[in-house]
Symmetry: D2
Subunit: 362 residues, 4 copies
Amino acid sequence: MSKKKSRFLQTPIDPFTVEAGLTADAIVTRMERISFQGRNLATAHRIWLKMLEDDVTIFLGMAGALSAGGLRMIVAHLIANRYVDCLVSTGANLYHDLHETRGQHHFLGSAHADDAALAAERIDRVYDTYASEEEFIDNDNWIAGFAATLEKRPYTTREFLYLLGGHLWKTTGRDGILTAAYRANVPIFCPAIADSSIGMGLSQARQSTPGAGYIDIIGDIVESANLVIRRPRTASVVLGGGTPKNFINQATVQAEFYSDEVGGHRYALQIVTDVPHFGGASGSSLEEAQSWGKLATDSVRVSVQADATIALPVLASALAVSAPPLLASRKPPVFSLASRIMTIDGQTVPSDRFEEVNEPAV
Amino acid sequence: MSKKKSRFLQTPIDPFTVEAGLTADAIVTRMERISFQGRNLATAHRIWLKMLEDDVTIFLGMAGALSAGGLRMIVAHLIANRYVDCLVSTGANLYHDLHETRGQHHFLGSAHADDAALAAERIDRVYDTYASEEEFIDNDNWIAGFAATLEKRPYTTREFLYLLGGHLWKTTGRDGILTAAYRANVPIFCPAIADSSIGMGLSQARQSTPGAGYIDIIGDIVESANLVIRRPRTASVVLGGGTPKNFINQATVQAEFYSDEVGGHRYALQIVTDVPHFGGASGSSLEEAQSWGKLATDSVRVSVQADATIALPVLASALAVSAPPLLASRKPPVFSLASRIMTIDGQTVPSDRFEEVNEPAV
Amino acid sequence: MSKKKSRFLQTPIDPFTVEAGLTADAIVTRMERISFQGRNLATAHRIWLKMLEDDVTIFLGMAGALSAGGLRMIVAHLIANRYVDCLVSTGANLYHDLHETRGQHHFLGSAHADDAALAAERIDRVYDTYASEEEFIDNDNWIAGFAATLEKRPYTTREFLYLLGGHLWKTTGRDGILTAAYRANVPIFCPAIADSSIGMGLSQARQSTPGAGYIDIIGDIVESANLVIRRPRTASVVLGGGTPKNFINQATVQAEFYSDEVGGHRYALQIVTDVPHFGGASGSSLEEAQSWGKLATDSVRVSVQADATIALPVLASALAVSAPPLLASRKPPVFSLASRIMTIDGQTVPSDRFEEVNEPAV
Amino acid sequence: MSKKKSRFLQTPIDPFTVEAGLTADAIVTRMERISFQGRNLATAHRIWLKMLEDDVTIFLGMAGALSAGGLRMIVAHLIANRYVDCLVSTGANLYHDLHETRGQHHFLGSAHADDAALAAERIDRVYDTYASEEEFIDNDNWIAGFAATLEKRPYTTREFLYLLGGHLWKTTGRDGILTAAYRANVPIFCPAIADSSIGMGLSQARQSTPGAGYIDIIGDIVESANLVIRRPRTASVVLGGGTPKNFINQATVQAEFYSDEVGGHRYALQIVTDVPHFGGASGSSLEEAQSWGKLATDSVRVSVQADATIALPVLASALAVSAPPLLASRKPPVFSLASRIMTIDGQTVPSDRFEEVNEPAV
């Protein structure tokens, strides 16, 4: 046993020791020298702090039923305190957020429910969580009603969601994802808005008001890529995969065609439950993302294989202790979002054509 | 042991017996009386046959990297032979299909690749499969070029993809998903087109040709719901979850607001790798879908927990033997897709307003 | 919206709100009214408190590489403070515990290692964790050496592991699972000891010392069932499935043949990553366990689908605040373990025949 | 596009094409040039053929409820035709095999059962499969009865299971795993026998017959390692992980201490549903296994992430066409198993001490 230790055996595992009164940051710090997903969660904490310290635009992607599942105020908190600079979300998460911001609720339910009985009472189930279909229809009408009041022209989801957040804030004065983003001037993209009840509300706007409910989803592609062209240093935080994960990566891939300064996200952190070996994008590894130029090959990155309903409360609670000094000195990008053409740090971010910093790659 | 058998113990497991020369249909039939996912695959086979025998419109949803992964000709076969009547796909699957139909390839690769080395050679990796980024850029340009030739107005994805399929067929004369759908007049919806390289191609069309590349994604919602209003008896076959799964369900939920005859899919079959217990839509159970009215409470349904690259080749090969008599006598809906307003069985299917068969539910 | 709420819509989801300085118990309490696995973790916390409050014998099952992965001191803490009364473990977890208690280490490694390079340096990898094969061989010899000193007769794993823990304590004076169990007189069963390096050490004892290294594994079955016959009210806490999960259940099933008072565990809590739908025991649901009589049909139970390296540090840290009053008033069973026949609360627990409280069931 | 193809882009994906009448071997062959788990299944087929062609001892590991789930006659077929040379199994799989060989059945059930109702009728559920507890008790008694007739001494599981298989064959004359292994002289190891109903039966033998039901599980370790010392070229086929997977690997690791010719399995094939990233052995990668010397660093290997109830029927049906010529010319090891000391190719394989071919490694 006197031999020199192998170069592979440098830092011993330090077993987690239990103590009364540990706060989230202490727990996460004690996870730094254990293994498997606990260590990955600790690494995620450190990487997020690095992001905040560095001069990067931080994208947050959000898929899965996180709003209905009780995480919407964490996301609102991350937005309001500028842990993140831009949200890419599924429509459902924004819709369920709107549902609660409007004063309605999701409810504790059972994963072993009798779904026929629920259907008979018009209760919609999301695993162990229930909601009233009647209240959902009321939301749809509310969204349709609002959309019908807008000028009759196509809107990027970024513009529409800013306006929707504003209307929601003025109507309710309540915190939530949409209202926090509105108040903090944080843009929200929703690339699959057509696959959600917000899309359904928009489609219903056409019924009452011909010409209403037009969304320019291709404009979102242009705008998000221009964001990266304007500020090529970026980071990606992804909860749950889906379209948000890919859309955030696509922005940098698309931007790279028009600017040599773009080189993939510098930091990437994902909390996912999907796995890589079936080939789907949700579970794809951050290593694979390098081959596409989605991540810089020297990016700092970690995947946490965990349900966000466990990992995010712990992670956000830890950051609430460790991040404030960094947040205080951070200079996040400043957006103006109220019109068809947004700005970042005073520069326009068009949605109808790419900013050509250099010649296209081909 | 002389006691009467319990009502729960009626049909014995019949162990699978190996024999040389078993064809796919024989294999699947022998799986009917085993357990777990093998039995579910056998049930999927029987349910698909029932769908074909019944008078239902069959939606096929397709997510995950199935085209790049070698399943695109199975999907083309299902379309050409009208095992299905309408495809809902992610953009990536259609893009990778176009890639190969244009004569390019994906390549056998390794899941343990050195991604920095791949990035250096501009090779994009999808788990164990590679593609050339240069060829992808060529596709983007080709799509942008085509989109720039179209009349300057918004297109639903259904209309755009029909036109794209037609252009692809005229250019290449090769089989594939897009070309098969074009030739068979099977509509394709792509609700998350903004989250794909087809969307990127469309966004690039704007660069060369102001006014090109506008997609009316909300029109797709209206159109897909009107399809269900026109033919309320439907079935859902889903490969891999994602936006297609929900969009197919959303069509029936939305249609229900406008027609009492709509009551959720009568049949549902999903081949998924996601699980229900994290709350995401991809893995959500078909039982849960009943609570929403996505499925009829008396629907016939099965989930197969398997990678589609194993389950679909076996299932499609089995159907190739068992389904032809049913396909021969089947009367699938007849679509015309060449213009802004599609028709089904001669009836118009608007994309700007819902067909109101009855009064809205609220 | 004025209508009476459905019976299904009683308790609203209460979104998790972030705050600086939250301790683990506060975090877990705030998870009680969110969804999915976060809620399940909160439920696990409440159920464990109920177990401590009730008069039940608490079994802890432990599979997966939790000791190497940095959780061994949590398990030692649970044993020392009598959160649990009996441990059932895989051999690997006990072996890796012994490795560290002997003053050696596991090391932080990479999941993307070059395994051929590791093999060349004789480093063994467990996902992202490394250990020295040379040190492992030293352990094997140490175990073999100790086993060779014992009287030449078969030992149940319970007796052998108690003696091993005692020897380890006397040699090292260090805390760990084996030494904590020794000092707290908590029995450890290891039904699959033959599938572990402890088994390998025992097998090597035979080489030096004919007649050494005999284990009476069937005696463990008898003894564990007799434990349940002696104290029929039981609870099960399972980390990771495997043989410990089933062995704990088997004890109650076996005991039921000999005593009418046994009726399955009253409480069950499992933290697992496996899923039910492939039919394996590790992922099997606690509902299914009822059909076997492993759990009482009115048992209180929860499955947390999470990696134990995240869930257990949080859960144990929360219990460190909430449990001490219950621990203080708890009257756990008192064992004596030093000989072939153990006792519980002064009553013998034979390993050679079942205590027949009533006539066998058949 | 005229540039030379990258070294990474050599073999194009060849999409699976559907055809009526495809046999299993044709299906698997067409999967060779698709992606993800379909390709892995095709690779598994090729690797198994290579094993049969090479001069290796093939171990088969079997965990999960495969016998109850309808795969026992496939395993019996693999044994009878010497696709494999040694079986390592969980106790449950052997017990459920015995159950059916004795003329009883498992039954088609539902995964959504009312488990309290099942418990009331004493029906045991394994996911979607039921069995009669009363019949299980009858098996336990039958095993106990047989064990009580044996000479009063410890038995390795290998010896006991051979005797049990013989008794079963003489009693029933029916095919199954235990009877096929008996007739083909293929050894079976069951390292976790204490965690199964066979173990329970053995424990009950002690009740009627003091001195009966003693198992020498450490002897199994010695014997299995001596097998590898005798024939150092080995291969591993694993269905579902668990103790069998590790026990097969342990045999080669243990053997290596005593012979320089042992260098890890030359071939490894696993069909698993577990994943590596939680650190458990069941899901551990075959790459990791190299670091331990469980696999040779130049081993040929594949993991198929699939439920065995789908993958194994397809794979075994394909092999039934492709393997017979190789089986015909194969020279499998010849065992004699009827006594305490087994032989392989006429050489003794002790269970009380390792064959020392070279000096121990330390």
